[in-house]
Symmetry: D3
Subunit: 285 residues, 6 copies
C-alpha cells in the first residue's frame, strides 16, 4: 500500500506559510510578544496532541518557525503519516521565545487542519483493512488549500482522486443530459477530445445506465449512491473492465460494508470539507 | 444587535476567487465540460440547501460565475446572514452551461465552507438569545482563509475577536510566565509599548490571578476554562471595569449556561476550525 | 477528430497579457507613441499573415488591445485553429492609434509564437491524415509558457501529452535503472503509489524490454527511437493491450512512415521548443 | 568587444525558476520520481550537448536544482558565453536522485532555449568577425521571457537593442504617417517630449527619407530592407552623424555582406523569436 | 516609555526590498557597474549621515546588500532608534564593489526616507520631554509604505495610531452628519457593530460636541483644531473618562504648548507625508 | 515644451491602487463607514486644494473610487499638470457615501504625494522660464513609487532622468576610481559593453576632469556641485559636444542663476525625496 509519502514541493510550502504569516502578522507583527517578551528570552516547548490521530503538515509547522527565526530548533517526533495518542509529543521547539510564541498559532492551524484530515482518512483506511480497496478524496476541498488537503489524505493512507477539472474527465448526470442522455456518446465524445494520458470516468446511478456505459470502455465507473446489493451486482457486471468506484453516504458506519462489495475505490467528500481539526497544543517545558 | 452586514472588500473577493479557480482549472480548464458540452448550450440551475443553515459567501459564488462568463445571470434568493431550510433555493443561475458546470464546485466549496461557519455561529447565537452577550471567534482559523471565516462568523450573528497578532494584545500564561509570573507588570509593559488604539486583554485561570490583574486595568479579561460558579464570581469581581470574556469548552450544551453567568463575550475556536460544511447542491432545472 | 477547441481560462489569459505588457511598457509606457502620436488620433489596421499557417492566440492579441484601451474594436477573421494563406487578414483593429501601436508588438509576439506552434503541428497532422494516430507534444516547452504552447498544439489539430510531472507517470530508463533495471517492478511500484485517475507510461528501447513490460499492464508504452520495422513488430506485440506511442526523430520526412506502423500516438518535442514564429505583420489601412 | 558578461539579477532568476517549477510540479510534485525512486537514492549525471553551440542559462539550471534540494552539487564546466561541441559536458550534477530527475526537464528547457538563442547569435557574430559592427536583437521576443532572451543574445556576443517601449524612441513609418509624413517633425516632437537620457531612432526606407531625416539629428537611423548598394550610399550620407543600423532579411547568407556595407549595427528579430533550442541531454553516469 | 523597538516581520522586509530592487535593476541590472567595475573588485564604504537625525530602516539597507550578494559584510553602527550627528557613520559595508554600488541608491532611499520620518518624530518627542503625552502619526502615509512609515515613527520615539480602516473606529464629522448630526447615536451604532477588541474614537470640534459625546463613552476623543485654552477646558471635561487626543496644526512651534494642555496624545499627519529625507551618503574608504 | 502628458499604463495604476487599498482596508474593510453609514446613503463631495500647487495623480484618485464602487461618479476639474489655487476644486465625487468615505484617505494620499512633487517641480520650472534648460529628477525616489514620482515630475513640467540602473550609464567618481581614476577608460569601457540605444553620462567635479572626459565623447556630462562661474566655463568647454547637466544644491534660490550658466539640464534629488505633500481635503457638499 502507500508505505512512502513524498513531501510537497518546497516553494509551495513556503508560499503557503508566508501567506498565513502575513495574515496573522499584518504590518506590525506580534504586538503582544514584542512588548511583553524580552528580545533575548529563550523557550523550549512541545507540540502535544490532545487526541488520538494521524499527523500531517509537520513541514509547515517547521517552516513557520524557521521563517520567523533561523535560531529556532525544531525536533520532529512524529512525521507525517504517523499516529499519535493523547499526550504524545509531535515536535519540540527551542529557541527565541518571541519567534516561537509568534508562530505558535499559525503553525498549529496548519498542523491541526491537515492532521484532522489525515486522522479522518486514517479512520476509514483502518476500517477497510485487509480489503483490496482504496480510500480517496474528492474536489470538495477548502478553496485555496487543495494541495495541502490532498496531501493530508495521502498522509492518512488514502489516495487522491483527480486534482481539478484539468487532469481527468468525470462525466456526471448533467453532462450526459446535455448530450440528450446518451451516456455512450458522452464517453466517446470526451475520449475523442482529450489527450491519451487522461482517464475518463462516468457516473451511473442505475444498473441500466451501467449497461449502457460499459460497451464504451470508460476507465472508471462511479457507482453513485447505490445500496450494497446493487454495488455487488454492478461489480459483477463490470467484471474488471473498468475501475469500480463507490461514492455517496460513505462514513464510519457504512465504509466496511461498502468496501466489501468488491469496489476498487471508495470516495468521500467529507474527509476534506468537514473533518474537524486535530486538537493540538503547545506546552511550554 | 448585528442587523447589518458590511460586504467584504471587492478586490479581496476577486483574489480569493481567482486563486480557487486557478486551483481547479489549472492550465487547460475543464476537460469534461469543454469536451462533452456544446459551447452554445445553456442551462438553468438552482443552488439548493440540503440542510437547515445560515448563508455566507454568496458574493463568492457569484464572482466565480462572472469570472468564468459575463453571460451567467445570478439571482440571489438568500443573502448572507439569512437562514435556509432543507430544499430551499439559495440562488438561481442561468447562462452558458460550460461556465456554470465549470464553476459549480468552486462556487459551492466557498459557499459551503463559509455557510458551515455561519450556521454553527447562528446556532450558538440562537442559544443565547435574550442575553446581553456576544459570540465571537478566535484566531484558530484555516490558514489563508481568515478574512472569509471571520466574515462568516459575522454573517451568523457573531462578532470578531482580534484579526491577528497585529491588532490587539492578548497576554496569555506563557507571556506572563516570561515576565516571572507578574501579571500586572505584563499588562503595564504592554500598555507602555503599544498604541493608544490597541486594546489589551489578559488571560486568567483563577480568581487569584484575576485579583492581581484588575488593578492594572486591562480592557478585557479572558476567563479561561472556569466553571459557571467561578465565572459568576469573576463577573462580580470585575464589576464592569473590564469586558469579561469566557472561553474554553463552549459548545451547544454549555453555551447558554455560560452566557447566563453574566460574561460579556463567549469565544469559540471550533466555529472556524471545525464547523462542518453546509451541504448544498446544484440542481439543474 | 479535434473539431472543437475550448478556450483558455480567462484569468490565465489576462495574467499572461499583463505580464507581457509590463515587460514592454515598464514604468513609463510607450515613449514613441505618447510623444509622436496625438492622443485623439485613430487608426485602422489589419493583422496580416505573411506565410501559410494555422492561427493560435487570437484571444491574447484581443486582450492586449482591450487592456490598453476599451475603445479598440477587434474584428477577428481567423479564429484559433483556422488556416491562413500569405496575405490573408487575421484580424482588423480600429480605434485609438496610441493603443494599437503600443500593443502591436506584444500582440504579435503572442500570436506569432503560438501560431508558429499551431502551424508546425498542423503540418504534421496533415501528413498523417487518414491514419488513426494522434500527434502530441511533450514537456519540452518554453519555461512559463506551457499552457499557451499546449493550447497551440491543440489549435493545430494535435493533442496534449501530460502537462507536467504532476498529472501522469512516465517511467524512463533512469527511473527503471534506479530500481535495478526491473521494469515490471517500476510499473507495479508506481501503480501502488499514485491515484486511480493517473495513467502510467513506460519507455522501452527494445523489444526485449517491451516483453518484460507488457505483463505489468502499463497504460501507455513509449517506443523510443525505434525503426519502422521494430515499431511494426512492437505494435503487434502490444496488440491493443496498451496505447502505443512512438517518439524520437519524428519530423516532416519521417512522420507518415512512423504513423503507418500502427502506433496510436506520435510525440514530438520540437513542436513546442523549436517551431519558428509565424510571420505576421500589422498593416495600417 | 563584449568580453565580460554580467549575470542577471538574482531575484529575477529565482522568480523565473519558481514559476517554471510550479508549472511542472503543480500541486503534488513529481509523481514518477516520488513513487519509483527511493528517497535516499543518489545520482551523478552530466548535462551534455548533442550539438555545436554556445551556452546561456547555466545559472537557471543551477537554481532549478538548488530550489529542489540544497544537497545537489552543480559543477559547471561551460559558463555562459562559452562554446560547446557535440558530446561536451556542460555541467555535472550529483546528489539526491529525486531532485535531479524532477528538475531535469525544467533545467534543460531553460538552458536549451537560452543556449539556442546564444548559439544563433554566436553564428552571426562569428560571420562578421573583424568588422566594426554590432549584432543586436529586437523586441520580437517570447512574451514574458525578454530578460532571459536579451541576456542570451549578450552571451552569444551580441548586443541588446532597447528593452521595451519605455527605454528608447523608435519612430516607424506608421508614427511618421500619423504626423502627415513629416519625418523631421516626428523627430523634433519626440525629442521635445522625452528625457535627455533617451535616444531617438528613426526608420527610413529610402534615401529620400534619409535626406529628410538627417538634418534633425536622430541618434540612430534604421535603414530598413535596403539592398547592399543602397546601404553603402546611406552610410556615406550619414557620415558618422548618427549610428547606422541595418535590418530586414539578415540571415546566415546575407549577414557578412550587409555588415561590410559599413553600417554600425545589424538587428535580427529571429534570434529571439525563431532560433531553435540547443539540443542538450542529461546522461546518468 | 518606548525603550524597545520590535523589528518588522522578515518576509515583509524582503518583499519591500525585492520590489525596490526590481524597480531599479529592471531586466538587465546595473549597466554601469557591470560594464565599468571588474567582477572581482572589492570595496569598503561607510554610510555617513550629513545631518543630525534619528535612524530607521537599517535592516532594509542590510537586506538590499545581502540580496545582491551574500558576500557583502554589513557592520551596523547605529541601530534603528539611535541618534546620529553630521559625519557619523551609520554602517560600514565591505565586499564586492559591484553589489555595493548597485545597491547603494536603493539602500539609501529606504534609509533616508525612513530616517527622515524618525528624525521628525524624534524632534517632536524631544520637545515634549517630561510630559505624559504620546506623539502619534496618522493614516496620511505614502501609499504602499505604511508599514515602514509607521515603524519609522516608532523608531523616533512615537506611537502608532490605527493602521488602517480595519483596526479602529474613527467617527469624523461626515460620519456623524450622515446620522443626522447625532454624535451619541453614531458612537452607539458603531459600538453595536464592531468587535469588542476595537476602540472607538470620535472627533469633536467644539466643547458643545464634547458634551454630547461624553455620555456615550467613546474610548478616545479627538479634539480637532482647538486652541490651547479650549484644549485645557476639554481635558478637564473629559476628566480621564476617555483618552484625549489633540490634532491639527501641531508643529515644532506649537507642540510643547499643546502637549502641556494635558492631552494624552498629539497626532501629526506631516510626520509621514511631508518629513524630508535624512541626508545620507556612501563614502568609499 | 512639455505640452502633452501621456497617462501611466492602466495595469500599473490598478496595481498601485489595489495595493494601497489593501493596506488601508485589510481583511475587513472600513469599520467606521460600514457601521455608522447606512448602505444606501449617498454623498456629494469635492476634493479641494488648500494651497497653490500643480496637480498629479488624478487617475489614481479616480481608480480608487471606482475600485470601491462602480457607482461613484468622478468629475475631474483639474487634470494632471494643471495649476490650482487655494480653495479651488480639483474633482467632485458623487455616489455611495460608504465608498467615497472609505476611499477618501487613500485617494488623497496618492493625489497629495504626487501633487506635492508636481508642485515642487512646477516651482522650479517656473523659475527658469524662458531659458533653454530642462528640470529633471534623479533616482532618489521613494522605494516602490518611482513610476508615480517620475510621472509627477513630468506633470510639473519637468523631465525624467534615467529610470533605473538599467536604462542609462552614469559613471560616478567611485566607478572611475575603480578603474584607477582613468576617466576616459571608464567611458570607453562602458561604451564597449552597453547597447547602442544606451546613453553614457559621466560625472566630473573639476574642469581638469572635464578636459580628460571630453575627448571620449560622453553623451552627457554631469557637472557636480560647481559654482556658477565654473559652470559657465564648463559649458564653454563642452561647446555643444555633450549635454551639460548641473547638479548639487539646486533649490528655489539658486535654480535661476544656475540655469543661466547655459547648462542644458538641472537635476534635483529633493523633488522626489523631500517635496512635501500638497494639502488637499475632501469637502462634503
Amino acid at each position: 500500500m502507500n508505505n512512502t509519502l513524498a513531501p510537497l514541493p518546497i516553494p509551495l510550502i513556503r508560499r503557503y506559510v508566508e501567506n498565513a504569516l502575513d495574515e496573522d502578522l499584518g504590518s506590525t507583527g506580534d504586538l503582544t510578544s514584542s512588548s511583553a517578551i524580552p528580545a533575548d528570552a529563550n523557550l523550549k516547548a512541545s507540540v502535544v496532541s490532545r487526541k488520538t490521530g494521524c499527523i500531517a503538515g509537520i513541514d509547515l509547522l517547521k517552516t513557520v518557525m524557521l521563517t520567523l527565526s533561523n535560531d529556532v530548533d525544531v525536533q520532529i517526533e512524529k512525521h507525517d503519516g504517523m499516529r499519535v495518542s493523547p499526550g504524545e509529543v509531535v515536535a519540540t521547539l527551542s529557541g527565541p521565545a518571541r519567534a516561537i510564541l509568534s508562530g505558535e498559532r499559525v503553525g498549529l492551524n496548519f498542523l491541526g487542519h491537515m492532521s484532522g484530515i489525515a486522522t479522518a482518512t486514517r479512520e476509514i483506511t483502518d476500517l477497510v483493512t485487509g480489503l483490496d480497496v482504496r480510500v480517496t478524496c474528492t474536489r470538495k476541498t477548502t478553496p485555496g488549500l487543495r494541495a495541502l488537503e490532498k496531501y493530508a489524505v495521502r498522509a492518512g493512507g488514502g489516495f487522491n482522486h483527480r486534482f481539478g477539472l484539468y487532469d481527468g474527465v468525470m462525466l456526471k448526470d448533467n453532462h450526459i443530459a446535455a448530450l440528450g442522455g446518451d451516456i455512450g456518446r458522452a464517453i466517446d465524445t470526451a475520449r475523442a477530445h482529450v489527450g491519451h494520458m487522461v482517464k475518463i470516468e462516468v457516473e451511473v446511478d442505475t444498473l441500466a445506465q451501467l449497461t449502457r456505459a460499459l460497451p464504451h470502455n470508460p476507465d472508471i465507473i462511479l457507482l453513485d449512491n447505490m445500496t450494497c446489493e446493487t454495488l455487488i451486482e454492478a461489480v459483477q457486471m463490470i467484471d474488471g473492465r473498468a475501475i469500480a468506484e463507490a461514492s455517496g453516504n460513505i462514513n464510519r458506519n457504512t465504509a466496511r460494508a461498502i468496501a466489501e462489495t468488491g469496489v476498487d475505490v471508495v470516495s468521500l467528500g467529507w474527509l476534506t470539507h468537514s473533518a474537524p481539526c486535530l486538537d493540538l497544543g503547545l506546552d511550554i517545558l
